[in-house]
């Protein structure tokens, strides 16, 4: 038997791409479970279709590109499928889910060369594509029915949507914005599968932090910015602006801050860069929510910041060992 002449180092940590991807999938399970509890079979249907469709399109594109099928096992396509499902209402027609998967895998990911090369979060690209193409289907959320597995649903607005409507019709934030936080915390509200249940999502986020799959930089700076900015507006005029706690637990903020903005490939690589990225996501989210045409702005905010990632990386390069600090260089 001949020996392996591999370059050093000869030992490696046990952390692999799979560890990270399946770690995020595990962390998403509590949130997905909440979705399933409140939206029943429809939720499971959307998740299953989305994951299977993503895997199928990944396989198809790999085949067309003449590559081996090993990337199917790395967990990234499953994760994209699950994330996409979490971004959809449970009553969305199945073919829209499939279209979303085509966009996520095809245009969001493989067009650029697959995992590692995509500039935008694939699931978000698909979500925004669906939101713009099918605005009605994407914004008619079924009213949650805890532990009911009936397939027919009544649709209603999300708290953020109700607030926007009230602002336009009545000129104030209305009842929605001052509702009890218990329902959004446990998931008893309208929204996409992964938008409800802030507590379950945050729990998954903490799991990611504990397992060191993500660092605190992006979620903390993102959430703190949203909380701080909406807090200032609320203090200025509580008639026009909802309390910061409301903004924290409604919409896609938890999902976005812990699971979408932290996507390795499309976010900055240094701690400093990640904080800038998180703050940027927060500022854009708040501006879209408070002053934009859409009730929710998390997806747009993250996609816009994805576009800014290369430039953030460029200006947050660490000072190399043995070179003068900026202060020393000036002196």
């Amino acid at each position: 038997m001949s020996t392996v002449l591999a370059p050093s180092p000869h030992v490696r940590s046990s952390v692999t791409i799979e560890t990270a991807m399946y770690g995020v999938i595990i962390a998403l399970l509590p949130g997905a479970l909440v979705g399933a509890c409140f939206f029943g079979l429809n939720a499971l249907k959307v998740m299953t279709i989305s994951i299977i469709a993503c895997l199928l399109f990944e396989a198809m594109v790999l085949k067309i590109r003449g590559m081996d099928m090993s990337p199917l096992k790395d967990g990234s396509a499953v994760l994209t499928g699950l994330l996409l499902a979490m971004n959809l209402p449970s009553n969305i027609p199945w073919w829209m889910v499939v279209m979303g998967a085509v966009v996520a895998i095809g245009i969001g990911k493989q067009v650029y060369g697959g995992l590692g090369y995509n500039p935008f979060n694939p699931a978000l690209v698909a979500r925004v594509f669906l939101l713009i193409s099918f605005p009605v289907a994407m914004t008619s959320w079924p009213v949650p029915k805890p532990l009911s597995f009936s397939l027919d649903t009544i649709t209603g607005a999300t708290p953020l949507g109700a607030m926007k409507t009230s602002l336009m019709m009545e000129g104030n934030v209305g009842a929605a914005a001052n509702m009890s936080l218990v329902d959004p915390l446990i998931g008893n509200m309208g929204g996409s599968l992964g938008e409800i249940g802030a507590l379950a999502l945050a729990l998954g986020g903490i799991y990611l932090l504990v397992r060191k799959i993500i660092t605190w930089h992006i979620p903390v700076s993102f959430l703190a910015t949203v909380f701080g900015m909406t807090g200032i507006y609320w203090l200025i005029n509580p008639e026009l602006y909802a309390p910061p706690t409301f903004h924290l637990v409604t919409g896609g903020l938890m999902l976005g801050a812990f699971f979408m903005a932290t996507d390795y490939v499309t976010s900055p690589v240094t701690g400093k860069g990640m904080v800038i990225f998180g703050v940027g996501c927060g500022v854009l989210t708040v501006f879209i929510r408070l002053f934009g045409g859409y009730p929710e702005g998390v997806s747009f905010a993250i996609l816009l910041m994805n576009a800014a990632t290369p430039i953030i990386d460029r200006y947050t390069r660490p000072r190399v060992f043995g070179y003068p600090t900026r202060k020393e260089a000036r002196a």
Binding site: M1, S2, T3, V4, L5, A6, P7, S8, P9, H10, V11, R12, S13, S14, V15, T16, I17, T19, A20, S70, D74, G113, G114, L115, G116, Y117, Y264, V265, S267, P268, V269, T270, G271, M274, R317, P318, R319, V320, F321, G322, Y323
Partner: protein, 436 residues
């Protein structure tokens, strides 16, 4: 005091041989004394085929300022001067000696200075004539390190007993078994460069060694520092940062911040050379990894083939899938055991099939792990991708030459990227571009 350098990783330290006392081996029937035992120009042979040589007799002289003398480890006959296996994988000219078993030594009492009556300058000459190089792995000639220019005053000597590479325990055992030799060498080094302070640096996974060193007769100005276990703490610049907070400037040397670092083994060898007149003809090495039947720490004559070391200690449990000259983080993979122990051989590790994780290199997913562990604060993933896509022009702007090739980035990489190999290739491409 932070006692911390930037970045670094925490591989399982696997110091399974730390309880094995240093033991000797039956001499080999053939010694391969490579003329390239060190960084710098190869040595020049001073003997001819057929000559009888005595133990400690110089058989090659330095081939330049950064070059070293070479001595016969035992008495015998020069059988050949020819290209022979070398740990680098290439064939390098070596003096082949067949020992006669008599171990007859050259009288070197005139070289010894047991009472330390001579001048530090004279000691430095002895170090050079004794062929002493850094024994931590890089094998840099010791007398050159002890010759800082006058405008670079040295205030501190660091005795490097960190031994941060997993599996290696040779320095650990040496500190337990010969603390006085190490401290003797440390005292001489302080005198040679005029340093008032010295630190013996030891990682926290060797508390017994720290205890022994503390209880030993410490020369004035010498302290023992226990550092948290973190790779690559043994790298000179990182060790200095952890101990003093000083940062060796880019392209600079430890002497630029007033420090000289010497491995503990080197200090012990210096002590023997100056007090007893014994040149460097042997060293301690660790035989480790899961495969050897007789893992442990061995005193081995320079020139002994690795196969002899393995056979003498009971062979291997099965076929080797990976052989490593040195530690697992920076050591070099060997194709076989034909190459000899050189002055820089700190260990030989042997792994069987399936004992090291199979790697499958994939695209970078930009997780940033490599950046957070890089002790030089580089962007290893960027450098790797630039080399992969042959964008060599930007490598210098991204400070590729500041990479110390410690391998921390590749260790943590979830995409199993061979970052160190990319960076070595990038450095070579830059050299080639500069040469045009």
């Amino acid at each position: 005091m932070a006692n911390r350098f930037r970045g670094g990783v925490h591989p399982d330290d696997s110091k399974h041989t730390s309880k094995q006392a240093i033991s000797g081996l039956q001499p080999a029937e053939r010694l391969i004394l490579s003329l390239s035992q060190h960084i710098g120009a190869p040595s020049r042979p001073e003997v001819s085929v057929g000559d009888r040589v005595l133990k400690y007799q110089p058989i090659a002289s330095p081939g330049g300022f950064v070059s070293m003398a070479l001595h016969a480890p035992t008495s015998g006959t020069v059988k050949a001067i020819e290209p022979a296996p070398h740990p680098s994988g290439r064939l390098v000219t070596a003096i082949i000696i067949e020992p006669d078993g008599l171990d007859e030594a050259l009288d070197r009492t005139d070289k010894a200075d047991p009472g330390l009556a001579r001048s530090p300058e004279n000691w430095k000459e002895t170090i050079r004539d004794s062929g002493i190089v850094g024994m931590g792995g890089a094998a840099f000639p010791t007398h050159v390190k002890l010759s800082p220019p006058e405008d670079k005053p040295i205030d501190m000597i660091v005795a490097n007993g960190v031994e941060c590479e997993p599996y290696l325990t040779a320095d650990h055992r040496l500190m337990l078994e010969s603390p006085d030799e190490i401290l003797g060498g440390l005292f001489l080094a302080m005198k040679i460069v005029g340093a008032k302070k010295a630190v013996v640096a030891i990682e926290a996974n060797k508390p017994d060694a720290a205890e022994v060193m503390r209880k030993a007769d410490l020369p004035e100005g010498v302290t023992v520092e226990v550092l948290p276990v973190m790779y690559p703490q043994g790298a000179e610049k990182q060790l200095i940062q952890a101990l003093t907070g000083r940062e060796v400037p880019t392209g600079g040397l430890p002497m630029d911040v007033g420090v000289v670092v010497q491995n503990v083994g080197t200090l012990a060898t210096m002590n023997q050379a100056i007090k007893e007149g014994r040149p460097m003809v042997e060293r301690v090495m660790t035989l480790g990894g899961p495969l050897p039947n007789g893992p442990g720490n061995y005193m081995v004559s320079i020139g002994t083939s690795l196969s002899h070391v393995v056979e003498q200690t009971g062979g291997l449990k099965g076929p080797a899938a990976r052989l490593i000259n040195g530690g697992p983080m920076m050591g070099q993979a060997l194709a076989g055991l034909e190459s000899p122990v050189t002055k820089g051989t700190s260990g030989l590790l042997a792994f069987g099939p399936g004992e090291l994780r199979t790697l499958r290199q994939r695209a970078c997913i930009r997780c940033g792990s490599c950046i957070s562990v890089c002790p030089a604060s580089l962007l290893p993933h960027t450098l790797g991708s630039m080399v992969e896509f042959r964008l060599f022009n930007q490598l210098r702007e991204f400070n590729i030459t500041d990479c110390i090739e410690c391998g921390s980035c590749a260790f943590v990489c979830p995409a199993d990227r061979n970052m160190v190999q990319f960076i070595r290739q990038g450095k070579a491409e830059l050299l080639a571009l500069a040469g045009k």
